[in-house]
């Protein structure tokens, strides 16, 4: 399958999310093309998590368009969005602590019916995160924070998503664990899954992503390319506003 780089995987236009009348995201538009890793960075409270939760309809949202490969997601329940091919790893990697690592992974493949493809993907996930194979029978709650994040990403991948969305995967992880996660994201992207990553870790995100949107107070204020990663003055400005 050839990847046409102009093919839109995710298209979001005019997204609004509000909690009890207080806007968290206002009039947000962005897109992710096939083969791309797209970043969204911004300070705490900029609306990053709300954007992702709004796209998958886990919180109430409205938009002019939210579509995945042309399929309208707007009226779907969260589980339908997942089944349509958008896998979200939520902030704080909510794994099921009392279930084993293997059972957590099984839950990722709820909608899959292709046994062969699933077996291949499981092998790949174990290659990507060998620790999951080693600790397969352990209760997931006993894993370290970094290992739980790997489990959450692995679980999302087993749904064979068109787009993998990650909400602050580096949050609370050690520097080595962050490197593991970022390296994995690059391999995931290289294998053909488009990635949307929301981060506070600006430099690393901008350097890795095809394109990075800067989100401030619920709006996109800047779009950065990998070349901007070393321009610390620009990143600072992106965060603090002009």
């Amino acid at each position: 399958m050839s990847l046409d780089n102009t093919e839109r995987v995710l298209m979001v236009s005019g997204l609004r999310v509000a909690y009890g009348g207080i806007p968290a995201v206002s009039d947000l538009s962005f897109h992710v093309n096939a083969g791309e890793m797209v970043g969204i960075i911004g300070p705490n409270g900029a609306g990053k998590s709300s954007t992702l939760l709004g796209v998958v309809n886990a919180v109430r949202s409205e938009s002019a368009e939210t579509s995945l490969r042309g399929v309208d997601l707007r009226r779907m329940a969260p589980e339908q969005v997942a089944r349509a091919g958008l896998a979200l790893v939520t902030e704080g990697h909510h794994i099921f602590g009392r279930l084993s690592v293997r059972d957590n992974l099984r839950l990722g493949s709820t909608a899959r019916r292709d046994r062969r493809g699933l077996a291949d993907d499981l092998r790949w996930v174990y290659e990507l995160f060998p620790i999951l194979s080693e600790f397969a029978e352990r209760p997931a709650g006993l894993l370290s924070g970094g290992q739980q994040q790997q489990l959450a990403i692995g679980r999302a991948l087993l749904a064979a998503p068109t787009l993998l969305a990650l909400d602050e995967p580096s949050l609370g992880l050690s520097p080595t664990a962050v490197d593991t996660v970022f390296a994995a994201i690059e391999s995931i992207c290289a294998r053909g899954t488009a990635v949307l990553i929301v981060e506070q870790r600006a430099q690393q995100t901008v350097a890795t992503a095809t394109r990075t949107y800067v989100l401030t107070e619920g709006r996109i204020t800047m779009t950065l390319s990998p070349n901007d990663a070393d321009d610390s003055a620009l990143l600072m400005k992106a965060y603090l506003g002009s």
Binding site: P78, G97, R98, D103, T110
Partner: protein, 294 residues
């Protein structure tokens, strides 16, 4: 010694029945955040089916009780609780009181205020002699029935694909949906299981009493709910153990309290509950996992 063993077996059987009631309540609370007081009226509905249909045909009566219980469980969700999914657990509990009272009035209207009597499984009301012990058949059947159902529920939850999804939905409903787990299916499956458990409770209680009235299921549900709370509503296994403990204690108090004090047995159970909740406010088994929830 022999009376002690007999009373322990009776207590185990009472514990088993309340464990079933508590398990049904705990399962539903886990997935729907609904502490369903109207579970009592599900038990009552199944009990009417048993008492009224048994004279016609016992297999039909058993089937009818299960069908009625599952149908009531699903219908009350369809009519009331599904419209309140985003409401707090407290609102849901209050709504379930409303459903409970409404159904009690409905039963009065349909079957009358008075007690309806009928022999359900009369063969089980005999006692058997085992090595000098006079054991009630029903106590033994209740223990076996509870054990079989508990093992079945356990295997379903831990070994089957769908059971695993129910567990995930109980641990974190939103996260489960984000993973693509169908919320509607999980809710229906959970309500169905609670219906089956309610029918089992109704079977034991109607066999014991041979009678049903509009408030028949209230007591079992109250004690089941208390059991689930002291065991920890957040943990399915906790609810089970809590329910068992309440039934066991109630039965022992009945046997062992000096005559004249029997009326205080329920008060003593409540006293125990207060002590437990003072020591472990989230229930005995909930501590470790309470913060896992969002």
């Amino acid at each position: 010694m022999i009376p002690v063993i007999q009373s322990l077996i009776d207590a185990t059987s009472a514990g088993a029945v309340y464990a079933l009631a508590a398990l049904g309540i705990g399962l539903v609370f886990g997935v729907l955040r609904l502490a369903n007081f109207a579970n009592g009226e599900i038990i009552t509905g199944a009990a009417y089916a048993l008492i009224l249909v048994w004279p016609l045909s016992w297999p039909l009566a058993l089937a009818a009780s299960v069908v009625v219980a599952i149908a009531l469980s699903l219908l009350m969700d369809l009519a009331v609780f599904r419209w309140m999914r985003s409401q707090s657990a407290a609102s849901l509990l209050i709504a379930s009181f409303g459903v409970s009272i409404l159904l009690q009035r409905a039963y009065e209207g349909i079957f009358g205020v008075n007690v309806r009597t009928g022999a359900v499984a009369p063969a089980l009301t005999r006692s058997v002699n085992v090595g000098g012990l006079r054991l009630s058949m029903l106590a033994i059947v209740a223990i076996i029935l509870a054990a079989v159902l508990l093992i079945a529920v356990h295997f379903f939850l831990t070994k089957s694909r769908m059971g695993l999804q129910v567990q995930a939905a109980a641990a974190n409903f939103r996260e489960a949906r984000i993973l693509g787990i169908r919320s509607g299916v999980m809710i229906a499956v959970t309500l169905g299981m609670s219906g089956i458990l309610a029918a089992a409770v109704a079977f034991v209680l109607t066999t014991q009493s041979g009678a049903v009235n509009p408030t028949f299921g209230v007591q079992a549900t109250l004690f089941g709910l208390i059991g689930a709370v002291i065991g920890g509503l957040n943990r399915i296994g906790g609810a089970l153990v809590g329910g068992f403990a309440v039934g066991f204690a109630l039965s022992l108090f009945t046997t062992w309290l000096p005559s004249g004090f029997g009326d205080f047995r329920v008060a003593l159970v409540y006293l125990l509950v207060i002590v437990v909740l003072l020591i472990a406010p989230n229930g005995i088994f909930a501590g470790r996992t309470a913060k896992e929830r969002t």
